[in-house]
Structures are given as C-alpha cells and as structure tokens.
C-alpha cells in the first residue's frame, strides 16, 4: 500500500514535470528561440538577446568613442535590464554625470547645451559630444 502511494506520487510528479518542461517551449516560444539561436554566431546571439537595434547602437558606441570615455545614456530607463546591458557592454567606458558623450537611444531631436552631434546612426540613435 505504502509503495503504491509512493508510486502514485512519482506519477503525479512526472506528469507535472513534463507539463512544465514542455509548456514554455510553446508558450514562451522557446523552440523558435532555440532554433534561431542555434544558427547564430556568438555576436549574433548577443544581438538576438539584447535586441538587434540596441546591440547595433552599443557596437557603434564602442567603435566610435575613445576607450575609457565617460558617457550618459538618454532614452533608456535607468536601472532597467537594457540600461544594465549598455553599461556592461560599454565598459571600460563609464557612465558619469556631466560626461563627454551623450548616447541618445529612441529619442528624436534631443539637445543639451554644450553638446554637438558626434555620430548619427539614424534619426533616434545618435551620439552627442561635449564641446565646452
């Protein structure tokens, strides 16, 4: 009887395990993600999980700013995952107040006194550089 009860528990466990193993593959579209990711290079995978637009912007910032520059990000919510990713990928450039560069993402026609256009990726992704 006791063994039967333990085996019933095992069956319930396996059913729940299988459900929560399989469900996210479809509900969160993990199958498509895995399929897409498996075809990508390491760089492509970073772009995929970060979002291609943001990752492209980060790459351009990294290529154009001199090493160890200071910057501020405009247009990305502070302390959001995107903001943390920007900080991570841009290091050793560091985020500071009154920085040398302003990284504008998803905001058109942003202006701040003392800064001029340094690099334009498109209308809402560009870099301003301090001139004073």
């Amino acid at each position: 009887m006791a063994r039967f009860a333990v085996r019933i528990i095992l069956v319930i466990w396996v059913i729940i395990w299988a459900i929560f193993l399989i469900r996210p593959l479809f509900k969160k579209d993990l199958i498509r993600d895995y399929s897409n990711l498996s075809k990508l290079s390491a760089e492509g995978k970073r772009a995929y999980v970060t979002g291609p637009r943001l990752y492209e912007f980060i790459r351009v910032c990294n290529q154009t700013m001199p090493k160890s520059s200071s910057y501020e990000v405009v247009g990305i919510e502070k302390d959001s995952l995107e903001h943390r990713r920007v900080r991570y990928y841009l290091y050793p450039n560091t985020e500071k107040k009154e920085p040398e560069f302003l990284l504008i993402y998803g905001t058109k026609d942003y202006k701040r006194e003392g800064y001029k256009i340094f690099k334009i990726l498109d209308l809402d992704r560009y870099i301003l550089r301090r001139v004073q």
């Binding site: 063994r3 528990i9 395990w17 929560f20 390491a42 995978k45 999980v49 900080r87």
Partner: protein
Amino acid sequence: METLFLILFWIIFTLGVGYSVLKLLFFRAWPFFVGEALALSYGIGIATISIQMALMSICGIKFSALSTVLLFLPLILAALFLGLPARLRENRHQAGGLHRKSVLQHPPRDAAKMTFLEKFFVGIISFEVIYAFFRTLIKPMESYDSIAMYAFKSKIFYLGRMVPKDFFKSFADFVPHIEYPLLIPLAEAQFYTFFGSLNDHLVKIIFPLYYVALLAIAYSICRRSLNRRAALFFTFLLATIPQVTDFATNGYADIPFAFYCSASFFYLYLWLKDKRRAVLALSFIFSVFAIWTKAEGLLFTLINAAVVSICMVKEKRVSLIGAVYALVSFLAVIAYVLGWRAIGFAVNSDFAGAHVPLTSKIITGFKRIPAIFYEYQIQFFGPKKWNIIWILFIAGFIVGFKRIFSKELFPVTMAMLLVLSGYSMVYMLSSAPQGFGWHLSTSGSRLFLHFVPIAVLWLALMFKELKLEI
C-alpha cells in the same frame, strides 16, 4: 579544438586544487564516492582560487593563468605527497580489517543490475543535465542579475587583471550592490583568465557544473541512509524541480550558493552521526564559501552553529569540537560583518536603513507577517516552480509528525525551521529602496531555492523513518 582544450584545462586545474584541499583534510581516511569527491573538488576548487585571486589583488599581484597555477603548485604537491603514504596506509588497514564501521564509509558497492525504475531515474537526471548545459550555452549572459551583479564585476576584474584597489569606493555609483560577496565575479574572471579572453558565453558553463555537483552530493548524502533506488529517487526529485533547473542555467549565484550551504549542512549532519573531525572542518569550509558567495551565507553559518549547539543540549553531552565549530562559525560571521563595516558597507544595502529606530523596525516587521506567509503559500503550492516538493514536505510533516524530532531527523528538522524563521526575519527587517513588497516578490522563490536540497534530504530521511519503499 583549442576552446575545448582551454575549458578542459580550467576544469582539470579547478578540480585539482579542490581535490588537493580535500586530500589534505582527509589524508588519513578517504570517505568519498568518486562522483562526490569530484563534486566537492569542483566547489572547493572554484572558491579557493577565487579567494586566492582576492588575496592576489590585495597584494597587488595581477591575475594570470601562470601565476595562479604556480601559487597553487605547493598545495597540489603537498596533497600528492601526503596522499601517497595515506593510500599505502589505507591498504594496510583494509588488509588487516582495521577500518571501523562508519556512516561515512562507502556503502557496499551495489553490483546488482539496475532495475527499470532506476534506469528511468538515471535517464531523466541525465536528460535534465544535458538540457541544462544546452539551455546555458545556447544563450550568452542575458538575465538581470547575471549581467548587472556578476558579469559586470567580472569584466572589471578581468580587464584590470585584479580587483581594482579602490573598487568599493570609486565603482560604488556605477556597479549595483557593490557590497555583494565576490565568489561568482571572481570565478568568472578566473575562467576568462584561463581562457585568455572575455568569453561571456562559455563562462556560463560554471553554473550547470554547480548543478551537477549539487546533484552528486545530494545523491551521496541520501545513499548513505537509503538504498540505491531510493537515493536515485530523491536525486531525481531534486534534479527535476523547475526552479532548480532554471537557475542552473541563468548565471545567477543561487545554485552555487545552494551547493555551498547544502554541502555545509550535509557534512555537518554526517558529523552529528559520525563525529569525525575532518567532516566538521569540511562543513565549516563550506560555510565560509557560502558567505563568500552570497550574504545569506551568514544566516546559514549561524543556523549550522545553532543546530550543533541545540543537538549538544539535546544529547546532554558537550563535545569540545562541536563547541569550537559553533564558536568559530559565530566568529566568522562577526568577522565578515565587521570587515564589511570597515570598508563602509552594510552586509546588504537592502538592510541599511540604520536611521530607522529598532522599535519601529520591529513593529513594521510584525505587520509584514501576513504578507510573508502569503508569499510562502504561493511558493508552497506553486507547481510551476516547485512541482509538488513543498506539498510533499508539508504532507511529510503531518504524516510523520511523531518522527520529525527523532534522532535521525532532528538536526534536519531544526535546520529547516531555523532557515524558514531566519528568512522570515530577513523580510521583516528588509528596507529595500524599492519597497518590502518588491523585495519579497522578487527574491522569495530564490531564497526557497537555497534550502530545497536540505528539504529533499529531510524528505529522504522521513521516507526512511516511515519505512516506505519505491
């Protein structure tokens, strides 16, 4: 090919360092299974190397694979030197039948063929392990804490080839939770150093390896009390809890932490049964590594000290080594708190609301109890994250109520009760800037993850007490 070689080199070196420490502790008698020894070596190796890297930074020595290897060479040679005569001695003892009966000794090797059910458990565990590696390596670092707390710090350490001298001051505004312990960031920096480049993709391999190590020690500890089939059953339960598998792949510190605090308690439990000093030393070492992984390790260290003290009171027999363990654990916690205070930090900035009077904190804490219990019931009855592990735990508590304080179960029951009370206290005192509700909802499920292996051990022992079979 070169990538594979570098990963293998890192793993072998890590295992070598951990194995050496283990060998030096247990040079008189070796009580471990092969898988268990490898699992322990992995955890000890990573933690020891990360502590060495922190010391190197304090001394102004830059990280390099060569300096790391050279600095550990004496340790490895000492282990080899001591290990060889120990092996000869062990053989002589075995030949003369001098080994005393011990719970720590290997159970007789089960040569019987695996039954269908055992094959099923092994198959599912293997599937989960392979799937964990797949899920880990298919994506680069991407989740919040893995990037913000750990990968970011490790990038700073790797690019600077050391923990910068002014790290805790000049990076405080730039790195979130700079006061968090450094084991994981240094382990990642360690991997980059051996790998020779900042590969934030392959570095994630650290985490599923901890998952495998956790399963190995859970099996070993269960196997010492149960037959092979039952031990595999409980390892299978642990391996297939969705929350455990999810956190084995996402780059968070919670599975490594679960490994260290579980190992610390498991070997303390073995000491309570067997009273071999080296096992207690191992438990203390794992407590220190748990503190070095996450600040919650302080709580587990205190709980272990309390469990030893309570067991001594219950048995009405004071053991000197047990008292020393409790005292040293307590001192380790004090030393950590004072050390952190000396560099200007609270242990965790979520509890840094020192300006709030204590009475007010206590009153607020009591008002939070309903919300805390509500969160606990969400966890207990949430199959999406936990399957039915907590329901089984509650059922075991009810069905086996008369046995929960039996000699075998008493330390584990005490540990579980103390952990639950301790974490409830943590929430009662939390002053996270985002609010108590945010803190509870974002960390509750992770805190349960830390002690789920201990809960599995509790279930396994209750299974034995109730004379159940699978």
